[in-house]
């Protein structure tokens, strides 16, 4: 890195976009620079409202997020969006297309206005992030990116994911407010149930609510919430996740989504859950880092001469796989100085 991380951070805190963009790349790459950044920003973060938004492709969640952040920016807030999309497992490449849906309207009436630099200053900050396949990478990068947005003064910080994959569900559920977006006619409620999203949702949005079947989705959700009444959030905290009907494409209902999110934050504050959520988020990040560190150490051990010897012994029937793994685990956990 040529530019000093703390210089970039100082510039980003002054509201400059490009240094923040570069810091986010450092976050994505991970490693010592990212660790340095993590330590640098830790004390500055913690105040922003972190909102996780998930929904299947085609649920219109990006359009919803776009509408929401442009309204928020217009009313003087400083929203940021982290749009997470999957990388191709085969090539590691990705097409990140959410920005088009989130970004301010190109080519429309707004784009014809002359004063675009002013417009940009108040525009939401949008960053696209690919999952980049490597194990646990996303689980490290997303929390740090979120803390970075928070530390440089963005609020709310919205994480948008398609909600497949455990890491993504974890990321959303670790937000202050987890929003699950559904649409009529796509079997979304069933999918959400399978993915475990119903348990973590703090707020449901039925998008494209002008479509036939929207009421059915709402009824399904209500029913599921009734069923989980005894076990879910409602029983422990008395909070029942509201269901908001919206049509993001027509700009309807997004203010209701925001009001519901604010109300949920109020509920968290009132019940002191805000702090426990934040702590949970930090725990999740720490756990992810530890897991990642263990994975790296395990990888290194497998590649080491000793590791390979242990593994090769299983090929000759003189060592069972469970014994080999136990031996390696002992090496990993008790004798870290021996692993390279």
């Amino acid at each position: 890195m040529t530019a000093n991380i703390s210089d970039l951070y100082a510039q980003a805190r002054k509201g400059e976009r490009r240094p923040l963009g570069r810091l986010l790349s450092i976050v994505e790459r991970g490693g010592p620079d990212a660790d340095e950044l993590s330590a640098l920003i830790h004390a500055d973060a913690g105040s922003a409202h972190i909102i996780g938004v998930t929904g299947s492709p085609g649920s219109g969640k990006s359009t919803l997020v776009g509408q929401l952040v442009s309204d928020l920016a217009a009313s003087g807030n400083k929203p940021a969006v982290l749009a997470v999309d999957p990388s191709s497992p085969l090539t590691g490449g990705a097409i990140l297309g959410d920005r088009v849906r989130i970004d301010r309207e190109p080519g429309g009436a707004a784009a014809r206005s002359a004063d675009r630099t002013t417009a940009q200053k108040h525009a939401p900050f949008v960053r696209s992030m690919a999952t980049r396949g490597h194990s646990g990478g996303l689980a490290l990068a997303v929390p740090l990116a979120v803390r970075l947005f928070d530390a440089v003064g963005y609020d709310p910080v919205i994480i948008e994911t398609v909600g497949v994959g455990q890491v993504e569900v974890d990321v959303v559920s670790a937000a202050d407010t987890a929003v699950v977006v559904m649409t009529p006619g796509m079997g979304d409620s069933v999918q959400a149930n399978k993915a475990g999203l119903l348990e973590v949702a703090d707020l449901f949005v039925v998008n494209k609510a002008d479509r036939p079947g929207a009421e059915d989705v709402r009824r399904d959700l209500d029913l599921m919430l009734d069923l989980s009444h005894m076990t879910g959030q409602e029983s422990s905290t008395g909070y029942r996740p509201p269901i908001v009907m919206a049509s993001a494409l027509h700009g309807d209902g997004t203010s209701n989504v925001w009001q519901a999110a604010v109300a949920h934050r109020g509920h968290l504050d009132a019940t002191e859950q805000r702090v426990s959520r934040r702590n949970y988020r930090l725990q999740t990040e720490i756990r992810a880092r530890v897991e990642h560190g263990l994975l790296l150490a395990a990888d290194a051990l497998f590649e080491s001469a000793h590791g390979r010897t242990v593994i090769s012994r299983t090929e000759h029937a003189d060592l069972a796989p469970n014994d080999a793994s136990q031996e390696l685990l002992n090496l990993l956990l008790n004798q870290p100085e021996e692993s390279p």
Binding site: R17, R18, L20, G21, R22, L24, S25, E28, R29, G30, G31, D33, S87, S88, L90, T91, G92, G93, A94, I95, L96, G97, R99, V100, D103, R104, P106, G107, A111, R116, T117, Q120, A123, F125, V126, R127, S128, A130, R132
Partner: protein, 133 residues
């Protein structure tokens, strides 16, 4: 750290709506392991530069199919430099041979014409990025 994937913006500047080529290129680059931030149609130099800053991309790819490249491509390069960015600007689309030299002189890093193979597309982007890195 291990090499991070190349991040590139793909956009159509101006009114031109021909997006067959840019969509094919987006897939080619994805399949070459790059991260494509797809901005799509009707972008301005301003929207592209904002995206380049926030996304911290290694290159900007413009697709042009309606003979406006001699006006719009140099304008893009100029705007990128005026914003203090060094990001290479690559133009793809229908560009007659005789325009290649003036575009290069205007600071366009590379031009990909019709019939470029997938390998050529990916290699051209890599080279433009590496020259700049």
């Amino acid at each position: 750290m291990a090499d991070a994937p190349i991040r590139i913006i793909l956009a159509k500047l101006g009114l031109d709506g021909h997006d067959r080529g840019i969509k094919v290129v987006a897939r080619i680059l994805r399949d070459s392991g790059m991260e494509v931030i797809y901005l799509g149609l009707r972008q301005t130099t301003d929207t592209i530069i904002s995206a380049a800053e926030e996304e911290d991309v290694d290159a900007i790819g413009l697709s042009m199919h309606n003979a406006s490249h001699m006006t719009l491509a140099p304008a893009m390069v100029e705007a990128v430099r005026a914003a203090g960015l060094e990001t290479p600007v690559i133009v793809g689309g229908i560009v007659p041979d005789e325009d290649l030299e003036p575009l290069a002189a205007a600071g366009v890093a590379a031009v990909l014409g019709p019939g470029s193979s997938a390998e050529e597309v990916a290699a051209t982007v890599r080279q433009a990025v590496n020259t700049n890195r």
